[in-house]
């Protein structure tokens, strides 16, 4: 379990991370989202023991990262942001070094080397120095280093940053394949990644946790959550709007091209209601579908609002959301 309790990091009078708390169990993939400078990397650096927190604690697998750093770090794999590596070493030399420094014996290390070189597709560049590799390969070397000792806890700072779409896909697959027996934290700017891989999202802005929930719950915050789009063939009846307005669960109805965007009043599922109305009125329906939702829009709304309501949800403990005043 990775546990972060009220982590705070201050640089002078600037609070980069402000009381970040969460717990992560094996099997969890936590997506760490937030605008640049929100405190994602700083939080990760504190959890991995690179930066000492101003206050608060973090522990990995029950070992406090401050008082028992070596034990905690043994359980961790970490891919730092923009993958710093010893450029003058070859891939093989570097990975051997990573294995040695983690105290693996030669037999286990060589087995692990073969395994990670295969899953990260590094066999062909094993004797190349890292400085001659492309960004995608470097990122994979960083990844190989992080998973070499098959750690139970994996922290990755923007693992897909700078990769081309194919490589991104591959890295995502790789992460997803490791998920079952590990607790993974990854930070990213790309929200579709979170939707694709993570079963938990933390949105952090100005150093504070705004949201901690599942991607599905996060989508519920979308203004168009459960809204439907109804498109009619031309020559439909005029009374559509009035009929729609009369359905009790329906809230706002917007005209959209030759169709309508229908919002539910309190977020309930309204598709069947609309469908019933359409059949009863014998409307020439061309399509009826859920309005497309994008996590991006939720993200923008949560992080851009000038007086963003930093609100903390602990779905497991409290259902009611305690509102905290923005500082």
């Amino acid at each position: 379990m990775i546990k972060s309790q009220n982590l705070v990091k201050e640089y002078g009078s600037f609070r980069a991370v402000d009381k970040v708390s969460f717990e992560l169990r094996k099997g969890d993939i936590l997506g760490f989202l937030g605008p640049n400078g929100a405190g994602k990397s700083t939080t990760m650096k504190m959890i991995t023991g690179f930066l000492p927190p101003t206050s608060g604690t973090a522990s990995v697998g029950g070992h406090d990262i401050q008082s028992h750093p070596i034990e905690a770090k043994r359980l961790l794999g970490y891919l730092p942001e923009s993958g710093p590596l010893y450029q003058e070493m070859t891939v093989l030399e570097f990975l051997k070094f990573a294995g040695e420094i983690r105290g693996m014996d030669t037999g286990a290390r060589d087995k692990a080397l073969t395994r990670v070189m295969e899953i990260c597709h590094l066999e062909n560049v094993r004797h190349q120095t890292i400085e001659t590799l492309s960004k995608g390969f470097r990122q994979r070397v960083g990844m190989a280093q992080a998973v070499l000792h098959d750690p139970s806890y994996l922290v990755m700072d923007e693992p897909t940053d700078g990769l081309d779409p194919n490589q991104k896909q591959e890295v995502r697959k790789l992460i997803a394949s490791m998920a079952s027996d590990k607790a993974i934290i990854l930070s990213t700017h790309i929200l579709e990644e979170v939707e694709a891989m993570c079963n938990r999202v933390i949105i952090i802005a100005r150093g504070r946790v705004l949201v901690d929930e599942t991607p599905a719950d996060l989508l519920k915050r979308h203004p168009r959550h459960n809204a439907v789009r109804l498109v009619l063939q031309s020559g439909g009846p005029d009374a559509v709007r009035e009929t729609l307005d009369r359905i009790p669960q329906v809230g706002k109805v917007e005209a959209l091209g030759n169709g309508w965007l229908i919002h539910p009043k309190h977020g309930e599922v309204i598709k069947p209601r609309v469908w019933e109305a359409a059949r009863a009125g014998n409307w020439p329906v061309e399509s009826l579908e859920n309005a497309p939702l994008r996590l991006e829009e939720v993200f923008r709304e949560l992080t851009l609002a000038p007086d963003a309501k930093p609100e903390k949800t602990k779905p497991s403990q409290k259902k009611s959301r305690e509102k905290v005043e923005a500082a």
Binding site: I70, Y78, P80, P84, L85, Y86, M89, F97, E100
Partner: protein, 241 residues
């Protein structure tokens, strides 16, 4: 212990992964042999001793050891690899000691490569081996103390040039305090002899000179070891923030 060895190996071999090591070794050997031959009148002196070789070493070290030490931590900080290093299961102390030892081993290798000098005097005359051996021993200890200063300077900045300059300035100070010319200057300013002597005791040169003469005194050993240890402790504190 295993992690210390692996960092040591990485760091030591790292010197040879780039041309730096070869350039350094060439320049060091040329300077350390060239100065006594062409400036110090090594050959003309007609003495089967290495005093004239050793006397230049503090000055050669002054520029070349900062060149070795400047990358120890600055490079890690600049490229961000210290983040990798310090999230691996190693303590700061282990990392500092391992890297220092690697640099020291490399400089010691350079010193050992000057062995053709004693071989030359052995061929030409009959040297007194005691001072030669104690001189080499002293040179290696002194190199460690220089490198301690440089490692500390290197941990304070991510810019290798700044690290080099700081190292040279500190080392220069530690050389000057014991340099006879500088001591006479201080005496001519009517500073008390006791003070000048006390200051000279902080110098590499003072302690190294006695070893060149063949004396291995506890206070000289203590000086080199304590200076090195002091710098490395500060180095650890700097990195632990």
């Amino acid at each position: 212990m295993k992690s210390v060895i692996s960092i040591f190996k990485r760091e030591f071999l790292g010197y040879f992964r780039s041309p730096v090591a070869y350039v350094f070794l060439a320049v060091f050997l040329i300077a350390s042999a060239g100065l006594p031959w062409f400036v110090g009148g090594f050959f003309e002196s007609n003495e089967a001793g290495l005093d004239r070789f050793f006397i230049f070493l503090p000055w050669v070290f002054l520029f070349l050891i900062p060149a070795v030490g400047m990358r120890l931590w600055s490079e890690e900080k600049r490229s961000g690899t210290w983040e990798l290093l310090f999230t691996m299961p190693v303590s700061v102390t282990q990392a500092v000691v391992a890297k220092f030892l690697a640099g020291w081993a490399f400089v010691s290798l350079a010193i050992v490569l000057t062995l053709p000098m004693p071989i030359t005097i052995a061929y030409l005359g009959e040297p007194d081996w005691g001072p030669v051996i104690s001189g080499y021993f002293g040179a290696i200890l002194m190199a460690g103390a220089y490198l301690g200063v440089c490692s500390l300077a290197s941990s304070m900045t991510k810019n290798q040039v700044i690290s080099f300059v700081i190292s040279v300035v500190f080392c220069l100070l530690l050389v000057l305090l014991g340099w006879s010319v500088f001591n006479e200057l201080m005496l001519s300013l009517n500073l008390p002899v006791a003070l000048v002597d006390a200051l000279a005791n902080f110098s590499f040169v003072t302690h190294f000179e006695s070893m060149v003469k063949g004396l291995i005194r506890v206070k000289d050993l203590f000086f080199f070891f304590s200076l090195t240890a002091f710098c490395l402790c500060l180095n650890i504190l700097v990195l632990e923030r």
